[in-house]
């Protein structure tokens, strides 16, 4: 999947002033499904457009240890990692609105600051247990 000129300009504009470096750690496999290939292309193109963003491509089958380390259990997968691994993941190709979500995630992870309201921060600071959120979306 190739980004058009307009998308490339949007990516450049959104990622030009990142607060810190971000790694896009992507998992695919040797015989790639259509979405795996497109997702890999997308990740590499985004990394090419932003100085602070790097792409790392792993093989879900042969790099099993890396997948387990990052909790990746399906592909295509993208882990968005900044100064630390905050647990931000994308499964499936982030197309359409989700492409904007990917850019936003990169920006938030780079900053390492959620920007959430004080009461939300307090609630999260007091969480009694680990929380796993899975948000199902569609690309349109």
């Amino acid at each position: 999947m190739l980004l058009g000129d307009r998308e490339r300009e949007i990516v450049k504009g959104k990622l030009v002033d990142l607060a810190g470096p971000v790694r896009l750690v992507m998992f695919t496999q040797e015989i790639e499904c259509e979405y795996c290939r497109d997702t890999r292309d997308m990740v590499q193109q985004v990394a090419d457009l932003a100085d602070q963003v790097t792409a790392e491509i792993y093989n879900f089958v042969t790099d099993k240890e890396k997948a387990e380390e990052l909790g990746v259990d399906k592909i295509p997968a993208i882990a968005v990692i900044g100064a630390q691994d905050y647990g931000v993941r994308f499964y499936g190709i982030p197309g359409g609105y989700e492409f904007a979500a990917l850019l936003e995630a990169i920006s938030d992870v780079a900053a390492g600051d959620s920007g959430l309201a004080p009461e939300t921060r307090q609630f999260l600071a007091d969480l009694p247990e680990d929380v796993h959120l899975q948000v199902f979306t569609t690309p349109t």
Binding site: Y35, G71, K74, P76, V80, Y86, G87, V88, R89, F90, Y91, G92, I93, P94, G95, E98, A101, E104, A105, D108, V109, G112, D113, S114, G115, L116, A117, E119, T120, R121, F123, L124, A125, L127, P128, E129, D130, V131, H132, L133, Q134, V135, F136, T137, T138, P139
Partner: protein, 71 residues
């Protein structure tokens, strides 16, 4: 979607996945996803629609309350 990821950035106890529904039909079946966005909380509770911040916090409070009160 951004809200869930922001919560992950905020807290070491939160991880957040954006899952493209059409590519993972078995998960759509497992979690009964009929519309999007649907947020699945700890494999057990659900919140539907694009929720504002306070509403997602409320959904989390409700989802986590039973297990924490059992302890």
């Amino acid at each position: 979607m951004r809200l869930a990821h922001k919560m992950a950035v905020e807290s070491d106890r939160v991880r957040a996945d954006c899952v493209e529904a059409m590519e993972f039909p078995h998960l759509v079946n497992r979690y009964g996803v009929r519309g999007v966005p649907r947020t699945v909380i700890n494999d057990a509770a659900y919140a539907d629609g694009a929720l504002p911040e306070a509403a997602l916090v409320e959904a989390l409070q409700q989802a986590l309350a039973p297990s924490s009160s059992e302890e």
